[in-house]
Amino acid sequence: MPSPLVKARSTPVRDARPVAERTLSYVDAVREAADQEMSRDPAVLVFGLDVDDPKAIQGTTRGLLEKYGPERVFGTPLSEDAMTGAAIGMALAGLRPVHVHIRMDFLLLAMNQLVNVAAKSRYMYGGRVHVPLVVRSMIGKSWGQGAQHSQGLHGMFMHVPGIKVVAPSTPYDAKGCLAAAVRDNNPVLYVEHRLLHFQKGPVPESAYTVEPGTARITAVGEDVTIVGISYMQVECLRAAKYLEDVGIQAEVIDPIWLSPLDVDTIANSVERTGRLLVVDTAWTNCGAAAEIVARVAERLQGVRDLRLKRMGFAPTTCPTTPALEDLFYPTARTIASAARDLVEDGPTGWVPVERPDLQSIEFKGPF
């Protein structure tokens, strides 16, 4: 991943993933984590609308029903509110429910239970209970998903103490974070992205966890720090290649866990580069990008003069027509362009010509 052009640097790269021979898709990584956790711990169960249907949530729950039976793997009625409440009840009783939502947009029906009950129970009951609940939910993108099937709402959950948020971008992290989330004794919102489901990458066969607390430096550079959240990590890595073409070395960081957030890794990088671009697959206003920019600005005040920028969804509702949808999202090219402007401290007007090897994967319908 680090470009050959990269300048010498002393700080070690945090990326210490074991090299795995096996390549797995994100979907299979999620599935394998669920499988391994269910087989390790009989208290783990997986449910949600359509988890047991022929499409098995893009395959992420495939085979679990056959292996663990309908009591531990089941589809639910269309009742997000009560099913979330039930999941909390299960967790209070010592089970470790994984509640799956095929769209994050549907969490808006479950906010009361998630925010008023799951996130608060441990504290408001004085530590006498805990809620080991995992909520898997997917961000939709492209191909006309539209207003109500495209939202990244992780920022709303980052706002609330008592619930953790994780948004793995690689198959390796997808597996390790799901295992960590399942073993965590606290509620965890696990954010997937439909376009990440197609990603492939090295994934060890045995179980492992990727714990909160450590962001990952996914590309090393000295000129600008780019933080890419969830699917935007992929676009940021592409952007880094475009930037290489013009001699800019971007340091790319994947926060992985958004709450609690590893600000240290990001702030340390920005302390070196002096420039921070945060790219989210969500709105920036009061979102993860706002939080990261604010934290870094607070942290580095008086330490270093900074250049800062956020990118994310356009501040509007997601349109369906590709003519507008394409403009709604940051892309490798618009990210590269913004990063260069930060480095050159002003608008350069530069947008890289699209390189075929760096094109976005296109999602083809139906859903």
Partner: protein, 319 residues
Amino acid sequence: MRARLFRALYRIRRLEEEVARVYASDRIKSPVHLSIGQEAVSVGVCTALRPDDIVFGTYRGHALYLAKGGDLNAMVAELFGKATGCTMGKGGSMHLIDPEAGVMGMSAVVGTTIANAAGYAYALKLRRSDSVVVSFFGDGATEEGVFTETLNFAVLKHLPVLFVCENNGYAIHTHQTRRQGRADICAKAEAFGIPAERLDGNDVFGLLTRTQEVLKSVRAGGGPWFLEVSTYRWREHVGPGRDFQLGFRAEAECEPWIAADPVTRLASELSVGERAAIEAEVEEEIAAAFAFAEASPFPAPGELMTDIFQEEPDALAAR
């Protein structure tokens, strides 16, 4: 009336078949939830409505939109993501609207429009209008809390609203009996104080007649009414294809529904000439709509940031 109903049914059927056909070309970059097999529910009920009556539906809303008189050109253009679409390409297939025709919206989040319909009915009542609102939703939607919350409010306020549950037996790939502890939706409506009855979704005349009768009471201030209409989805949940190969339902389950298809039945009841004339007209209309859609421009990039708020939008969004 027979000819009118045939025309309405045939038009929706053929439109959706065309959508399915064109789909492979990827020019419709949008999920489509086809109503093929379920058209008679929308047609039967909407034929009983006045132009100033209001309907709310779901993402499976092509049939409803057309049956209520929504603009065909604007619909196809919408599926193509064009600026001439009924929402300018912003809403797509799941969010059709035509306020002039009384089609007041559809939602991709199951259940949400049920409550919107009741609120609209409240406004009609407040204004002493004798228009009514019809809320269309699936069997799956009745599992959402908003369903019973809305039933209660509608009864409490004697709202002029007709609830129509299009029960096609499935939510995506899951049968009603695997989602509902007691699979009797009418019983639930009745428990909340709404007269409810189950109708055959292939019997377009029966639907029309019964809706007419029921609406007399609703229009006269008799409060809400509930129809559960049994029907069947022939195609896959979303997309143009079939889904029997997935194994969650047998093709044999579909066969009696196809055998009782009101489109074929009504066709056979018309004179050859009458039928041919209608079919030709409809084909022409549909071809024209696709041509219109093809020829229409995509929205300009600036449209991304318009219509967020009702006022100078760029100024606001930019803040």
